[in-house]
């Protein structure tokens, strides 16, 4: 899948591949031996956060699991 930053797609794919493996083989199995994808994530984030700023995508200050407060049924 493409990244929102045109130049970030390769970095994203590399990271995704590393993450998917770690997630299925380590994280879900309770293995806490450390995340091997940290460096790839940093590089990918550097690229994608720059793209988000350039495109003015309004993500700043949006609280985690944010907007669903005080809703009926919530």
């Amino acid at each position: 899948m493409n990244s929102v930053g045109e130049g970030c797609t390769d970095l994203k794919r590399e990271y995704d591949q590393c993450f998917n493996r770690w997630f299925a083989e380590k994280f879900l199995k309770g293995d806490r031996s450390g995340d091997p994808c940290t460096e790839m994530f940093k590089k990918y984030q550097h690229c994608v956060q720059k793209a988000i700023k350039e495109k003015d995508i309004p993500i700043d200050g949006v609280e985690f699991m944010g907007p669903n407060k005080d809703k009926p049924g919530g």
């Binding site: 899948m1 493409n2 990244s3 929102v4 930053g5 970030c8 994203k12 990271y15 995704d16 993450f19 998917n20 997630f23 299925a24 994280f27 879900l28 199995k29 309770g30 806490r32 995340d35 994530f41 990918y44 984030q45 550097h46 994608v48 956060q49 720059k50 988000i52 995508i57 309004p58 993500i59 700043d60 200050g61 949006v62 609280e63 985690f64 699991m65 944010g66 907007p67 669903n68 809703k71 009926p72 049924g73 919530g74």
Partner: protein
């Protein structure tokens, strides 16, 4: 890169006692509508509420792994880009992530005349998630950050092990649809709910496709299959267009 997220989550998220969507919906004030596929919607003046239970006949672990690999799939042509923009393992060993999605933003024609001509043809969506491998629970919250005044759709999903069959996964889905478009909010909400229901079907089919692929049931797609998928998408698009026209006619009667 500095991240402005305020992280405020309970470290252990347990599947709440929710025996059926019906109970959930009945606790709302107002009219509760049920239909044959175990989905319920709540008709309010300010917000539409929708609850639905779904089932995936795959183990929870695989469903969670598929959750991160579900784009692209033959039912996700409306998803243009996908990025992880925040990710952390909490001290309680939960994985918290934020995904940013760009989706095409097709409004029905009757609605388009109320929208600015310059309005972007795509919408940004945020999807936050918490995966707790200890309790085998994944909770996601998805909402649009573009055009939110016009129509806001918030969706909350909980993925748990099915209590009757431990190798299946249950999805409890809730959605809140609201609009601040003066005089048209109810019509927009109805459109939003209809589109949301279509997208739930697509999401589930996409999930099933990705799960089958991961389990090696569909390793390579033949050209015939790809052509069938394209035909299906075209048919879906035509169907939606027809629905838009029908609803356009209906709204004209209603509002003029």
């Amino acid at each position: 890169m500095h991240c402005h997220l305020v992280v405020n989550v309970a470290l252990v998220v347990v599947c709440r006692k929710w025996t059926s969507c019906r109970n959930k919906c009945d606790s709302q004030r107002g009219i509760c509508q049920g239909n044959k596929d175990n989905c319920f919607s709540f008709i309010g003046t300010m917000v539409k509420y929708f609850a639905c239970a779904g089932l995936l006949k795959s183990p929870w672990d695989q469903v969670c792994a598929a959750f991160w690999q579900r784009y692209p799939n033959p039912y996700s042509n409306h998803v243009l880009t996908e990025d992880i923009i925040f990710r952390e393992v909490t001290p309680g060993n939960c994985l918290i992530s934020r995904r940013l999605l760009t989706k095409t933003n097709r409004a029905p024609r009757w609605m388009e005349k109320y929208l600015p001509v310059t309005m972007a043809r795509h919408a940004y969506i945020i999807e936050d998630s918490i995966v707790d491998p200890q309790t085998r629970n994944m909770t996601t919250l998805t909402w649009n950050i573009s055009h939110a005044r016009l129509m806001s759709v918030e969706e909350r999903c909980e993925y748990c092990i099915n209590p009757d069959n431990a190798s299946w996964t249950e999805i409890k889905r809730e959605a809140w649809i609201s609009s601040n478009l003066y005089g048209l909010s109810r019509a927009v909400q109805e459109f939003g709910l209809a589109r949301f229901k279509t997208s739930v079907t697509k999401t589930m089919k996409g999930f099933e496709y990705v799960l089958a692929k991961m389990q090696g049931e569909a390793p390579l797609r033949t050209l015939t299959e790809q052509a069938t998928d394209r035909a299906r998408e075209t048919a879906l698009a035509a169907k939606e267009k027809a629905k838009d026209l029908a609803s356009q006619a209906k709204k004209k009667q209603q509002f003029v």
